[in-house]
C-alpha cells in the first residue's frame, strides 16, 4: 500500500515538494477539517488553528518584532481565512495559504508603522525597547549576533532572509508568501548574504577558501 502510494506521488508529482507542504498534504485530518468548516462546522476550525498557530505567530513576529502585535495578526489571519474558506482550493495544503495571509497583514503593519514613524519619532524608542525585551528569550550569543545582523538589513532583504534562515522556507515558498518572483527572492537573498557575511566575519571567517 505504501509502495503504491509512493509511486503514485512520484508519477503524479515529479517536482520535489517542500517538507512542510508534503506534511500538510499527508495529514488526512487537515483535509477533513477543511471540508467540515466549508460545510459550516466552525468547531473543526480548531484543528487548523491549533496546528498552525505557533508557526503563524512566529512568521508575524519575524516581521513586526512584537509579541502582542504578532498574536493579534495571527488571530486576524485565522479569522480572515475562516471567512474566506469558500475560496480555498480543495486539496491544497492550508499552511501556505495562512502563511501568505499573515505575511501580507504583517507587511501592511510594517509599512504603516514606517510611515507613522516619520511623523511621530517618539514611538520609535518604546518599540525598540520591546524588541530587546523579547530577544531576552534568546540566550545564545551567536543567535543574538545573527538576529541583530538580520535586523540591520533593508526591509525586503530582512524579511526574505528571516524567512529563509530562521523559518527555513525555500525560495519558492518565500516567493509565494510575499508575492514576489523567485528571481527577486534570490536577488534579495544574495544581497543579504553578502551583507551578513561582512557583519558576521568574526564568527564565520571572511576568506573565500
Amino acid at each position: 500500500m505504501n509502495v503504491s502510494l509512493t509511486w503514485g506521488r512520484v508519477l503524479h508529482e515529479p517536482a520535489p515538494r517542500a517538507e512542510w507542504e508534503r506534511l500538510t498534504q499527508d495529514d488526512p485530518f487537515e483535509g477533513r477539517a477543511i471540508e467540515a468548516v466549508r460545510r459550516g462546522d466552525a468547531g473543526s476550525y480548531d484543528y487548523l488553528v491549533s496546528k498552525y498557530s505557533k508557526r503563524v505567530v512566529s512568521i508575524a513576529w519575524g516581521i513586526v518584532r512584537n509579541a502582542h502585535d504578532a498574536e493579534d495578526l495571527a488571530q486576524e489571519a485565522f479569522v480572515k481565512a475562516f471567512q474566506n474558506i469558500g475560496r480555498f482550493k480543495e486539496g491544497e495544503p492550508f499552511g501556505p495559504w495562512i502563511y501568505r495571509i499573515v505575511t501580507n497583514l504583517a507587511l501592511d503593519v510594517v509599512k504603516h508603522r514606517s510611515r507613522f514613524r516619520h511623523e511621530e519619532l517618539t514611538d520609535v524608542q518604546p518599540a525598540a525597547r520591546r524588541d530587546d525585551a523579547e530577544l531576552g528569550a534568546v540566550t545564545s550569543e551567536l543567535a543574538t549576533r545573527i538576529d541583530q545582523a538580520i535586523e540591520s538589513l533593508p526591509e525586503n532583504q530582512r524579511v526574505v532572509a528571516r524567512f529563509y534562515l530562521v523559518e527555513q522556507f525555500d525560495h519558492a515558498e518565500i516567493a509565494s508568501m510575499m508575492g514576489l518572483s523567485e528571481g527577486t527572492v534570490r536577488s534579495h537573498l544574495s544581497l543579504a548574504r553578502k551583507k551578513l557575511k561582512e557583519q558576521l566575519a568574526d564568527l564565520y571567517g571572511a576568506s573565500d577558501d
Binding site: 476550525y45 498557530s53 543567535a143 545573527i146 558576521l200
Partner: protein, 99 residues
C-alpha cells in the same frame, strides 16, 4: 569559506531564532479565534455589509448620469447660445438682426 557554505551554516545557527512563545500560545490563539468567529455580527456590521454594494451602485449611477448630462450640455451649448443671443448689427441708425 564559500558563500554557499557560509549561508548553510548560518541557516543552521539561525534556526533557534524562531519565535516559540509561551506554552499557552496555541491555546490562547485558538480561544481568541473561536470567540471571534462565533460572535454574531452586530446590526451595524450587517448594515455595512448590505449597504456597501448598494452605495457603490448608487455612486456609479450618479457618476454616469453626471457625465452624461455634462456631455449633453457641452454638445448643445453652441446651438443654445446662437438662438438665445441673436446677433444684432446697428448701421446708420438702423438695426439689423441675424438669426
Amino acid at each position: 569559506m564559500t558563500d554557499d557554505k557560509f549561508f548553510e551554516r548560518l541557516r543552521d545557527d539561525a534556526r533557534p531564532l524562531r519565535y516559540e512563545g509561551d506554552d499557552f500560545l496555541a491555546t490562547r490563539i485558538a480561544a481568541r479565534v473561536r470567540e471571534q468567529i462565533a460572535r454574531p455580527q452586530t446590526v451595524a456590521q450587517l448594515l455595512v455589509a448590505w449597504m456597501r454594494p448598494l452605495a457603490a451602485s448608487v455612486a456609479a449611477l450618479l457618476l454616469t448620469v453626471t457625465l452624461g448630462l455634462t456631455w449633453t450640455q457641452r454638445h448643445q451649448e453652441p446651438t443654445d447660445s446662437l438662438t438665445s443671443n441673436p446677433i444684432e448689427i446697428a448701421m446708420a441708425g438702423e438695426t439689423f438682426g441675424v438669426d
